[in-house]
Each structure stands twice: as structure tokens, then as C-alpha cells.
Amino acid sequence: MHNKATVSSGAAAGAVQPAAEPHTEAHPTVIRAENLTKTYGDVAAVDGISFSVPAGESFGLLGPNGAGKSTTMKMIGGVTRRTSGNLHIMGLDPDTHGPEVRAHLGVVPQQDNLDEELRVRDNLLVYGRYFGLPMSYLKPKADELLEFAQLTDKAKSKVDALSGGMKRRLTIARSLINEPRILLLDEPTTGLDPQARHILWDRLFRLKEQGVTLILTTHYMDEAEQLCDRLIVVDKGRIMAEGSPVQLIREHSTREVVELRFGSERNTTISAELEGIGERLEVLPDRVLIYAHDGEAALEQVASRGLRPLTSLVRRSSLEDVFLRLTGRSLVE
């Protein structure tokens, strides 16, 4: 309980969002992983990662597909056995106390696995029964959760009839039926349209305000920035960096970024002429990125060298830039 990772709340100039509050002793560790490893044959899906999550924190695993995020979630969720390392959820080892660990959790899996043959409300009732909850509790709770998920008017519909976003919200409602204090969300908004994503984020934010510990995986940097107090950047089963979104951006990127497009043919050749502008240059197939403290100034320098990009854009650094810096690759490929 004492060696929690603490995150500074000092707000840097140009911070993208307020930094996380520092964790205090009032928030005991709910998840602790030490050297967590999972191998399938010769392939290490998760390769010795360690982290701990205090109660009430919103903790993210950010990384591309195949980074080992889902496997980590399954180990935390007590449905996949680890190959080695230590893992405790609420002080319990999921390999030996699977039912006890799972009773503490709400789980939103990457792939919806709702009971399509049952009606919307029945999905919640049936799921609550798995926790031994009585119908006298479940019936009003199901109605409350349908309200929360904005699905009240769909209560009697078949699951088939729901849109992707509605199914996702129903899955989240289902995961809350046992009033868990820890919620695991594996890629909660993948495949949803922007509006559906924002509704979902809003619901997750409310849970966070109620003090629910959120553990989520995502390969969307904006999602990580919106929802996570602290996150680990994962690639090939290893942790590349750890911190709050602001901290990570400050440590691994500059304040601003200039994005230039010269046309796919010229991006590489022209990079030599951009040398010396900003702190760092990143050449991607479709654009050139100049990392600089002052983006506008950097852009003026580009113009003063007589270079005319087809398009130019000055923006704040994001977690995408952090990931690019750490791995040399883009998050969504």
C-alpha cells in the first residue's frame, strides 16, 4: 500500500488538460502487477510488465493492436492464467481466487457477448443472477441502469435490434449490475461513430466521479487523454512509458507540432531542407512533422527558406506523438 506510483499535478504551460490529482494514502492499491508475463508457445504476448493502480484512479493501457493490452485485461479479469509474475486484485490472486476476484469487477469485453436471444432488460437480470443477486434487488437496479445507459425505451427490445453504440452501452450497463468498484473496459469505443463515443465517454466520466476505478485499454489517443488520470504506453508486451497524459507529452514531445504535407513523392526528399527547424523532425509517408516549442515560429522559418507545403497545420502535441517518439510507429496503422 505504500509504494504507489505518484503523479505530479504541476500544470505546465500549455497543458492540454488538468493533470491528475496526486494519490494519497486514502486510496489503497486495488490492482498490483509485478513482472506479469503471458506467453503463447514462443510468443510473449505480455512480457514482464509491472504497475499498480490506486482506488478511484482511471488507468489506461495505450498501445496498438497486438500490444498485449487485451491479454493483460484478461489476466486482471481472472479469465486467463498468467505464465509468470505476480498479480493481485483487491489483495487476491486471480489464479487461486478467480470467483472472488471476478465478484469485485465489472467487465466490458472487447467483443460484445450479450445474450442476443434475450431481451434487453433480461440481459441485465440474468447477468445479475450470476452474482447471486436477488430479483428484488435486480429489477429496480436493471431499470436504473437502463436509464443510465439511455436504453429505457428499448427495455423490451431484442438485442439484435440495437445499434452498435446501444449494444456497447448495454454491455456497460450489464457490467455495473453488481455495483463493482473496479470496471475493466477493453477498447470500449472501438467501432463506434463519434457521437456514440461521446455519449459513452460521458457515462464513463460519471462513473469516475462516483469513485469507480476504471481500467481501460484503447488505441485512441483522444480517448486516453479524455479518460485517463494515468496510463502506460504498451508495445510488444512491454511498458514503454508511464505517467499522466500531460506528463508523458511533456517528457516525450514538444509543446507544439507543425504538420506539413508536400505530396507523398516529396516528403522524404524535402526533409533535408527542413533540418534545423524546431527540435526534431519526423518524416512519415504522408507528412513531415516538426516538433517545436513555438509552432508558428517554426512555420515562418519554413516559409523563409522558400518552401511551400501543400498544407500546413500547427497543433498541440498529443499522445500520438508520444507513441511515435517511443516506438517509431503510429498508433492506428
Partner: protein, 288 residues
């Protein structure tokens, strides 16, 4: 002390919370988990209860009518000696009850299992709850067992109405049919749980296992009227063992007591073996 109060004292839930604590949930799931999952399967079955009822009532009525009014008139006119001194419908009725249970097993322990692991992944929802894979398998089996009992009960009632269950112990056929359903169904369930890709295996099981068993298990004529070359099909068939056992209870069919015990032992043995294989397969597949 109520569970809610205990949970609050333990500090696991907020004061306004009404759900019992995770500790209570886990303890309940460890004890009753299989029943909780059985409840889910029964709720899903309720969705197609109409077709279950039609099958349970329509199947026996159609078969008994065809056998009793049609075939039996012809067969019985030849003298009842070939069927141990009873009418043809009485002879064939236990076989029909048992075969119906086995055919239901061939449906309920194949496609829904594939649905659970692959198509709609319905097993993975409860898998994230306190339930264990073994409890999910057990719950599925319990719900189907209930269906066997109800269906065989309805079937037996029809048999009795046709006057084809003369003894006082005929109702035991309901239990025998249920046991036969499990002895055929559980090994099949273990197989279904091992399939990762659907290549029409279940249709093959239906055509090349269930149908031959149905036809060559002493169902419509005594097994010893078949040539030895195919008689073995009956010996390994849960339908034959179940049918012979059913006949003993239904109309006092005479056979060595040891053989009666053997029938029961084979059925129980296959069911137990199937259960162990299923348990292992479920645990292995869901724990990866």
C-alpha cells in the same frame, strides 16, 4: 445482520449501495453457480418454448399413431410371439421415448455449445462473472436435463394414453430416457466444445451416428433379429441400452438381471465419462 449492512461495515460498498458485497457474491456463486447458469439456459429455451412443446407433444402422437394404428395392426396380426408376448406398440414405445431424448441431446449439446464458444460467444459473458467454466458446463447440462425430464414425461403420458405401458413401473422410462439422453449427449458435448471451426460436423453426427443408432438399436425389432455383422451397433448404442432398460420397467421384459445391471452401468458410465471430458474441455478452452 443483513448482507447489505455487513457489506457496508466491511467498507466494500457505498452506504447507499444495495448490492451485496463481492465476498457474498463469490460465496453464493461458488455454491449455486451451476444453478444460476441453468436459469439463463432455461430463459433462452423459454424463447423457443413453443417449438419445444410442439416437438414434445407432436413427436409422440405422430409416432404412436403411425406405429399403433398403422404398423401394429399388420405386425400384431402375425402373432405377438416375436415381441415377447406384448403388442407391437407396447414393444416399440420405450424405444421411442428413449430415442426422442437422444435426438434432443444431439441438438441441445451441439449447436448451443458452438454458440457459446464461437458464434455468439454466450459463454464468455458469464465467464467474466464469478462463475467457473465447470459451472457453466454443469448449468447447461442441468437445464437440458430438465428438458429431457419434461419431454419424456409428456411422451410417457402419450404412451400411457395409447395403453402401451401396462405395468405399474412404466414411469421409470422417463428417468431411463433422461439418462440415455445424457449418456449420448455428454460425450457429444465434450466433442462440440473441442470444435473450433464449423465444417458441418453436427450434420454428420446426425446422419451417420444418430440415425443408424436410431434404426439399429432394437428400436423397431429385437436386436437379435439383425445379423451379427451389424448387431454391435446396438451393443455400443445408448439407445439400445436405454430401450432394453425401459422395456424391463415398462412391460416386465424378461432378461438376465445381470444384463439389466449392465444396461444401467453402460448408460451411467458413458454419462460420467462425458461429464469429465466436458469439464476438462470447458476449463481448458476458457482458461487460455
Amino acid at each position: 445482520m443483513s448482507e447489505v449492512v455487513k457489506a457496508n461495515l466491511a467498507g466494500n460498498t457505498e452506504l447507499h449501495s444495495r448490492a451485496h458485497s463481492p465476498e457474498v457474491a463469490a460465496a453464493k456463486a461458488r455454491r449455486w453457480g451451476a444453478f444460476y447458469y441453468a436459469e439463463q439456459v432455461l430463459r433462452v429455451m423459454k424463447g423457443y418454448s413453443w417449438s419445444i412443446i410442439m416437438y414434445s407433444v407432436g413427436h409422440p402422437v405422430a409416432y404412436l399413431f403411425a406405429m399403433g394404428v398403422g404398423l401394429a395392426t399388420l405386425v400384431d396380426s402375425q402373432g405377438a410371439g416375436a415381441f415377447g408376448g406384448v403388442g407391437y406398440v407396447t414393444f416399440v414405445a420405450p424405444a421411442l421415448v428413449v430415442s426422442a431424448a437422444v435426438m434432443t441431446a444431439a441438438n441441445e449439446f451441439t449447436f448451443p455449445v458452438m454458440d457459446g464458444f464461437k458464434w455468439r460467444r454466450t459463454y464468455y459473458g458469464p465467464h467474466a462473472s464469478p462463475l467457473t467454466p465447470q459451472q457453466i458446463a454443469a448449468g447447461h447440462i442441468m437445464a437440458v436435463t430438465l428438458r429431457f425430464l419434461l419431454q419424456s414425461g409428456v411422451y410417457f403420458a402419450a404412451v400411457a394414453l395409447f395403453g402401451a405401458a401396462p405395468g405399474g413401473w412404466g414411469w421409470v422410462t422417463i428417468l431411463v430416457a433422461t439418462l440415455a439422453g445424457l449418456s449420448f449427449g455428454l460425450p457429444l458435448m465434450a466433442y462440440a466444445a473441442s470444435i473450433t471451426e464449423d465444417k458441418g460436423q453436427f450434420a454428420l453426427v446426425m446422419r451417420f451416428i444418430v440415425m443408424p443408432l436410431f434404426l439399429f438399436s432394437g428400436t423397431f425389432f429385437p436386436l437379435d433379429s439383425l445379423p451379427l455383422a451389424v448387431r454391435w451397433i446396438g451393443w455400443i448404442s445408448p439407445i439400445w441400452h436405454g430401450t432394453e432398460l425401459g422395456r424391463v420397467f415398462s412391460y416386465g421384459y424378461q432378461e438376465p438381471p445381470l444384463l439389466t445391471i449392465l444396461h444401467a452401468a453402460v448408460l451411467v458410465g458413458l454419462a460420467v465419462l462425458g461429464w469429465f471430458l466436458t469439464r476438462r474441455q470447458f476449463a481448458a478452452r476458457m482458461g487460455q
